[in-house]
């Protein structure tokens, strides 16, 4: 694989670099070219988290909507807009689409309420999580494998949002 060509493709298409406002030339771009593998693998991790082949009980629409929600909780409008595109592609509507709204708490649906409670707590204050947060998901009928899927989605988004925030500061101060 030609690393330069590959990086050119990544610079055009990568959501993290676009949202961080990374210039295609300069010191930050040069540093990123040295970590092209990390940038590419981050994209693969996004695909595995948002668009898995085996989504379990968390549909692509629900994943995209929760991603919009988490991006909004981080006040990252650009990433929220990015995941809104995925919501539309997955034809998310009704309660699934409502997950994207941080003021929506489940509308009386126990499963959605449990998904939301976990997502909000782990996105905003992971230090406050306790065993009861996992027990609440299990009590709402969510299988252990699906709890791991939800945890991976929320955790990946925390990483992606911080890479964007950090790179943006880096570019702004070169």
């Amino acid at each position: 694989m030609d690393a330069r060509t590959d990086m050119g493709v990544i610079f055009e298409n990568d959501v993290i670099l676009r949202l961080a406002g990374i210039a295609s030339e300069g010191a930050v771009a040069a540093a990123l070219k040295g970590r092209a593998d990390v940038v590419a693998m981050t994209g693969q991790a996004a695909a595995a988290s948002l668009l898995p082949e085996e989504p379990g009980c968390l549909s692509h629409g629900e994943r995209a909507a929760l991603a919009v929600r988490v991006a909004r909780l981080h006040e990252e409008a650009g990433l929220a807009a990015h995941y809104e595109v995925l919501m539309k592609r997955a034809a998310a509507r009704g309660a699934t689409a409502a997950l994207a709204d941080p003021t929506f708490k489940g509308g009386g649906d126990a499963r959605l309420a449990a998904l939301i409670a976990y997502t909000d707590r782990v996105a905003l204050a992971p230090k406050d999580t306790v065993a009861g947060d996992i027990e609440a998901l299990q009590a709402a009928g969510i299988a252990d494998a699906d709890i791991v899927r939800l945890a991976e989605l929320v955790a990946f988004l925390a990483y992606q949002l911080r890479v964007i925030a950090g790179l943006r500061l880096m570019q702004a101060t070169t």
């Binding site: 970590r35 593998d37 693998m41 991790a45 981080h74 230090k127 996992i134 955790a155």
Partner: protein
């Protein structure tokens, strides 16, 4: 769980899962394939067996984790560990903090810095360069990030290159991910019968 640890330590605890790990004897071909790319092939930990419930993200995450923490060039390995500890302190992941503080101690052949981090938390004062790294990692780990352009300038003034700063962003961000798995999917418990 009564034995759950809540205070930071460099004694690496046991990790007690809150959800069921997969049964390795019944693992699917995809799960076996993903487990093959984990750092320790001989002994698969409960943590990795829990993550194997979501084989697609595990398979993507393992090589990414290794690249961010161990690839050549850029920020030294001990300073990447310091970034990981900064995130783990903010997110209060006792297990992650223990593992990565003890790695930092091994690499730097000292214990004073991590003692200060565990005693003073986010306010810990280290040498100027290490303080800049630790401070940036803790601020980036807040929700939303509280890292500022001033923090970035402190890193540059402390002598960090762009390559080093990039690796710091990646290692601190990576532990925003790892902490949210380790700290929510299981409990750190004291090892019984070990001093």
């Amino acid at each position: 769980m009564s034995g759950t640890l809540h205070a930071f330590t460099t004694e690496i605890p046991h990790w007690q899962p809150r959800v069921k790990p997969i049964d390795l004897t019944k693992a699917s071909p995809a799960q076996r394939d993903a487990l093959k790319v984990t750092p320790s092939n001989t002994k698969v930990s409960d943590y990795v067996l829990v993550l194997a419930n979501d084989v697609e993200t595990l398979k993507a995450r393992t090589p990414l984790f290794n690249a961010i923490m161990y690839n050549r060039g850029g920020l030294g390995r001990a300073e990447r560990e310091l970034g990981a500890v900064g995130a783990s302190v903010v997110n209060r992941c006792i297990y992650c903090a223990a593992v990565h503080a003890s790695r930092y101690n091994q690499m730097t052949k000292g214990e004073a810095e991590m003692s200060r981090v565990f005693a003073d938390g986010e306010a810990a004062e280290l040498a100027p360069r290490q303080t800049a790294i630790f401070r940036f990692a803790t601020r980036l780990s807040k929700t939303p990030s509280q890292a500022t352009e001033a923090d970035m300038r402190v890193l540059r003034d402390a002598g960090l290159s762009d390559e080093e700063i990039l690796d710091l962003i990646l290692s601190a961000a990576l532990f925003g991910w790892a902490n949210r798995l380790m700290h929510t999917l299981g409990d750190p418990v004291a090892r019984e019968g070990e001093a």
